[in-house]
Structure formats: C-alpha cells, structure tokens
Symmetry: C2
Subunit: 306 residues, 2 copies
C-alpha cells in the first residue's frame, strides 16, 4: 500500500491538539505531532484560531505526502450531522460551524466529529471493544463522558447522547449542569481526589494518589473509593436497563487503577443487576491515542465516501 | 398492487392474539382476527401451543390469498437475532426457539421479534413518531416497557434493551425484578390505581378512574398522579441524558388521560432538563394495533429480503 493512502487525523483537546499522519484501513501512525490548543477570550475567536491551527497542522503533516482525507474531532457538544460545535465549556464556543470553516482551509474529503465518540469508535474497532456490536466506552477523567456504540456505530443523538457523567445517581451536591447528584460529582477522577482531600485533609495530585492510599489501607480512601465504585455501578446498571450493552470499556485516569477499580465495580454490579444483561467490564486499550485514532478511522471512511 | 403482495402479521399478547392480513408497503389491513392466547401449566407447552395457534391463524387468514411473508411478535425478553423467546413472565417460557418452531409450520419468509419493539417500529414509521430518527415509544400499562428507535430501527440489545419500567427512580418498595424503587411501581397504570386505592381506601378499576377523580379535584388522586408524573419525568430525563431521543411517544392506559398526563409531564420535564436535549412528548397514535402493524412491517421487510 503506498503512502498516498494516508490520512491526517486531528484530535482537538481542552489543552492540547494531538495529530497524526496515518495509513489505513487499520490506521498505522506514520508521524505525529502535538501542539497547545489556542485559547482566546472569546469562544468564536478560539474556534477560529483552532481552525487555523488545524489547517497548519494538516499542512505540516502533509509535507511530502498527499493525504487523501482529513478527520478532525473536537470536545463538548458536537452535532456530527450538521458539523457544528454546539458548545464547549472549556473552549467557550457556541454553534460554531467547524465543518464549513475547516472545508474552506483544507482540501479534499473531511470528516468532523466528537472526540469522545471518535475515541469510542476507535476502542470498538481497534481496542478493548473489539468483538462487540453494542458497547459503552466510558472515559473517567475530570468529568465522565460516554460513547454509546450501537451496531458498531457511535450514537450521537444530535450531539447530546452519552452524558453519563450527568446521570442523577443520588441526592447530592449541585452540579455545574444545574442538576443535583450527578455521577461525575462522586466518581470522576477529579471528584475522587477532591472528596478524599475534603475528608482526610490531605492534598493529593489526583485519583491515582487515592488509589495508592487505598492500597495502603487508608480508611478515608476506602470510603471515598467505595462511594465512587457504588455510583459507577448504579450508572452502569441504568445503562444496562435501557441500552443493554455487551461491554463497558473503562478509560481515563480512574481506570488506570486497574483491578482496584474493575474488581469491586464488577462485584457491585453483580449485586445490583437483576433482570438486565450484565455487561462485561474492560479496560480501555488505546489510552490518549483513542480520539486521534478515531479521527483517522473517520477520515478513512470519508475518503471512501461512506 | 395485487393482493398477492399481502403479508400475515401476528401479535401474541399475554391474553389475546391479534392477527391481520395486510398489504404493503405501508400496511393496509385487509382482514383481522383475534383469539385467546393458549396458556398451559408449562411454559414450553404454552410456547408450543402458541406456535400451533399461530400456524392455524396464518392458514385461516391466508385463505384465498397467497401471503408472501409472515411476521410474528411475542412478549417478554426476545432475542430477535437468534429468534428465541428468552423469557416471558406472563406465559412462562424460557429460551424457546420460536423462529425454528414457526418455520417448521409456516412456509415462506418469516420475521420474528418482540411485541414492544414492533409496536415502536410501527409508531415510528406510521404513527406518532413519524419524522424522528431517534425516539422512545413508551407503552404505560400493567408495566412500563420501552422501544428505543435509533436511526429508525429498534435497538434490541440482545433482547434486554428498553426496560424503562425498571429504571431505579427513588428509594421505594421492592420490585418483582429484585431491585427497589423501579419506575413501574410508581407510574404504571396499575401502580397508579393501586396506590390510589391504598391511599384513599376507594377501589378503582384502573388509572382512568384516578384521572377522573383528579379532574374532580380529589386530593389523593392529585398526590398519586403527581408522584407518577414526577417519576416519569425523572426517567425521561435519564433517557435524555444517555440517549437523547428527539421524541418520547407515550402509549398504553395512562396515556389515554391525554393532556392530563402530557401537560404536567412536559412542565416537570422543563424543570428537570438542564444540559440535555428536551424530547418532544407525543401521544401514541396506533393504540393496540401497533404490535400487529409492526409485525406487518417486519414481514414486508422479510419479504424483501432485508
């Protein structure tokens, strides 16, 4: 296969843009680069600066190649069909027409979509979700996002699907989203670290420190971790009740705890699940490459006119 | 179009089998019949008797016609792909191979599936869900079932998807499913009637009597109805958070209350919904014909080899 079959994939994150030149049909990365995500005072200006940066990255990665398609994914609420960035809390844009703006600067077939759904697609096709048609990919980091993969395709719901972090799990504190008791206030990596510090008075750099304390038998860590596991198990049970995925793929910072998360989570799930199909729990395989690989898969599909 | 393009559709219910000879592509019913569902002491014997009854119905409806395909739908947990009745609480079968058993008695293309998903498909294509790609059809009767229609197709989840009645909404009484606080213990038609009787001491024949009492200003009816509306709104909010349907189509006994249900339900949803896409609320249009029409649609697709 010649390098003329290459595509450029760009994953725009809240702080960093990851990009790669890759060759399909199973993307193999030829070269990569990372740059800081531009942030300006105004959301629309930020979106415009992101588009300019992406166009420059595509030009740089294309040197000496002739990429046949480009895939770009961005965070927030993304309407894949209209190719619009509906909203990003981090980057501030609202209803920005990324598809149009990117197409004005980048030649050839262009795929545009959502970072989390792209990452879910990559885990489903290339990572921990291989072999399943219906699955949920759950990156647990600062927040908790989710990609619902149905019949092998991400379900978008106009950009609004998969907001698993905002399932109401218990009576709890008010969330920035306006609801009370959202999952991500209890079980995101940030929440686990914050709740541990609140309880113990000890400052930690993240959930991984809480996992270390837990391994050492720390009682505060045990309580906070147990509450996170319970909340996640309740959320996965709701997913199983409505959507019945064959598997749940856990990613992000919290999943780096490995068996310390999946062990008790599986046990709690066994207690909560009654008539539902019990999803298998898997750890994500692609790490922070998932979004970029997903963008590459989308570019390969765009090239093929799908 | 000649009558040779007819199909036979059979909807096996817990107490009654509804069947029709229909002509596509938009099914128009040529003739109909209803029979009691056979019930024997043993679940497998019941399933076998149902298969024999369905075969007889198909023969009767086929007289003078040459139906090109047959569609059969049954209740419970149904694995559409394997064509197996996994479980029916009402009719008692477990893992009964309906597809195989029906094919042994009925010639030609055969579609087999789930009554609720078939009804959802019919509402989506022919009824209140027309114009939406992603919707939930929610029949609220003795229990609360749900059909998730995604991209115009029912999502099966191996037969386990759409168990909206078993979403855990609040700390509540124990459900037959083994969980506590399931939606259908608060908001099904039966639950509304039962809870009203428990509270008021007045016997009612169903939720429609509670609606009548509510119209007359009865305080017990107001409380019980309000709790049902609140629970339904919470469940629909969870659906919106995960799956983001464009519309929720309400059917079954409770939806017969019309604006008395959709008015307060819409208002409560407006309070609860924050970042989610607010689904439109619609009343089901096809009544108890939905399952049979869905079976006809499935038969038409089977005839076309889809």
């Amino acid at each position: 296969m010649s390098s003329s079959h290459a595509v450029v994939a760009v994953d725009v994150g809240g702080t960093e843009i990851k990009a790669a030149l890759a060759r399909g049909p199973v993307p193999s990365v030829l070269r990569q680069l990372r740059r800081a995500t531009p942030k300006l005072a105004d959301g629309t200006a930020t979106a415009e600066a992101v588009v300019a940066e992406v166009a420059d990255i595509v030009a740089v990665l294309s040197e000496g190649e002739r990429p046949e398609a480009v895939g770009v994914v961005v965070p927030g609420i993304v309407d894949d069909e209209r190719r619009v960035g509906v909203f990003s809390a981090n980057l501030g844009w609202r209803d920005y027409p990324f598809g149009e703006a990117l197409a004005a600067k980048i030649a050839g077939p262009l795929a545009f979509g959502h970072d989390v759904r792209a990452g879910g697609l990559a885990e489903a096709r290339l990572g921990a979700g291989q072999g399943f048609d219906d699955l949920v990919v759950l990156p647990i980091g600062t927040g908790i996002a989710g990609a619902l993969i149905i019949g092998g395709r991400p379900h978008s719901g106009g950009g609004y699907a998969g907001e698993i972090g905002h399932l109401v799990i218990a009576d709890g504190p008010e969330c920035a989203c306006g609801q009370r008791g959202c999952l991500e206030l209890i079980a995101s990596s940030s929440a686990v670290a914050r709740r541990y510090t609140e309880r113990s008075g000890r400052t930690v750099s993240g959930a991984i420190d809480v996992a270390t304390a837990l391994r050492a038998g720390d009682a505060d860590a045990k309580l906070v971790w147990g509450e996170a596991v319970d909340a996640l198990a309740r959320a996965i049970t709701q997913l199983a009740t409505l959507f019945a995925p064959q598997a749940v793929v856990l990613g992000g910072g919290l999943a780096m705890a490995g068996e310390l998360l999946t062990g008790p989570l599986g046990a709690r799930l066994d207690e909560l699940i009654t008539i539902q199909r019990r999803p298998e729990l898997r750890r994500a395989a692609l790490g922070d490459q998932a979004g970029c690989l997903g963008a590459a898969l989308m570019a390969i599909e765009a090239r093929e006119g799908r």
